[in-house]
């Protein structure tokens, strides 16, 4: 099983595909989920705590907008864990919200810079494209298992 970072990072479809094909998706939802379920937060559910933008400084400098740093505090640790990645280019907003373009630019760059197995796909606009889209994801994920990528490979 390989840890696969997905972009858009909260895409339920990508997350589900990675999971179905036997790998572990690294998605935003699980990180937000931890925050929401953590006992002791003043007024749950809140996606991040006021401390998070400070933690985000590890990934983006102080002159970067606070919202980018807050997002990076959730996504940064996932990127560190990532053993493979799937990036969908120019996705539709309903495919998974990628709210801040600056964060998106940074995380796409960081995934590419990590030199891990990476699949970059265009967002499908027709049914035929969608079938190819799913096929290519499956092929990529199957390849990860076959090539033995990832420390936790089965």
């Amino acid at each position: 099983m390989v840890k696969v970072f997905i972009y858009p990072s909260n895409s339920l479809i990508l997350s589900d595909l990675v999971d179905r094909f036997g790998h572990e998706p690294l998605a935003m939802m699980q990180e937000i989920g931890k925050n929401i379920r953590t006992a002791g937060l003043d007024s749950p559910p809140i996606n991040i705590t006021p401390e998070d933008p400070k933690r985000g400084l590890k990934y983006a400098a102080v002159e970067v907008p606070a919202g980018v740093r807050g997002r990076m505090s959730l996504l940064g640790p996932l990127l560190e864990e990532a053993e493979a990645g799937i990036i969908v280019k120019e996705p539709d907003i309903s495919f998974g919200c990628m709210g801040c373009a600056r964060t998106n630019e940074l995380i796409n760059f960081l995934v590419r810079a990590k030199k891990i197995p990476l699949l970059e796909l265009n967002y499908p606009n027709t049914e035929e494209d969608a079938k190819t889209f799913v096929y290519r994801i499956r092929e990529f994920l199957d390849g990860l298992s076959a090539s033995g990528t990832g420390k936790g490979d089965e």
Partner: protein, 413 residues
Amino acid sequence: MGKENLVKIAQLSCGSVYSGIQQEIEMAAGMVDAEIIYPEITIDDVKVVQEEFGLQVASPDLRLMMARAKALVDGKVRADAVLIATCFRCAEGALVRNEIRRYIHENSKLPVISYSFTERTTAATLLTRLEALTTTARRRSLLAREHQEGLTAGIDSGSTTTKAVIMKDDKVVGTGWVPTVKVMESATEALDNAMKEAGITRDDIQALGVTGYGRFLIGEEFKASLIQEEITVNSKGAVYLAGFQKGQATVIDIGGMDNKAISVQDGIPGMFTMGGICAGASGRFLEMTAKRLGVDITELGALAVKGMRENVEMNSYCIVFGIQSLVNSLAKGSSADDVAAAACFSVVEQVFMQQLQEVEVKEPLIMVGGSALIAGVPRAMEKLLQIKVTVPPYAQYIGAVGAALLASGFINK
């Protein structure tokens, strides 16, 4: 603050959740009896909004903001006021924030406040802004008042000085100006002085309005008809005194403790910033300079106008290091004129860097507050911005005049 009608504030924002300040926004709203709502829209609305707006942006959350703004303007969602907020330092966010604010302003009657936040934004920072927003929503008809009627009084209980005016039929007939020591005593003294000058007694006053830091305390004690934060009051007072009640204007108030820069439309505040952490950018710095030069604060302006600020090397705007620079310059032989000019310029430059970057500066630019009377200050602002600065009569009584003007709406109520 007593319970008032619930105001529905539509929040149009990008990044507030991930900056960790959403709960602060909601807390501040609760303090002013307001409820934050998020206008609902469909995904299709988001898809087409860029074409309709003519503004293409990369961030989907900014597109969402535009779609929500359109839903408000189209009347699909009901709200009483709008809060527009994006991350400080995001250029794309700043563009959208400005355009949405303008769009709502031009196409609806909704009061709008826009703000760029950092992760350190707290409910306390937002409180005056939301107070101004909700008051504008609740009292729009009051803010439309263009004339002062009857005999009314206004008190501005500021952090450094307390000002009072008596007004009668659109004229200031009495003024009082005292340093703020004890809030109540200073207010009483200022009002007594104003009444004495006007030749009236407390019983003659038909309505009283109060504003400034001490507004809640003095408002309660004096049983004021109007207790209002200084943003709306100063905006109204400034355009009233300067004769620009219609159209756009920018109001700058360099106070003893904090500065306000307000973008005004028809006398109603739109965007504004309040700064006050750094004493180097305030009236306090000018007071210290005057003291060091051995002149009265009222003489500083005349000196500054004669001086050349370029002759003085100022390495810092900090009140400590700034004064040190001025002292060093004096020791090297700089003239008092040049030092006064440098002090005025440094205050103005810091206001420009810290505050005017966030507010749209549109002519006429009206400078108010005691510092506006130090001639070197508006002169330095004119040089820096390359636009004409208007200093209206009674500029130092701006809050008290605004309060007296608005209070006249309460006569016979």
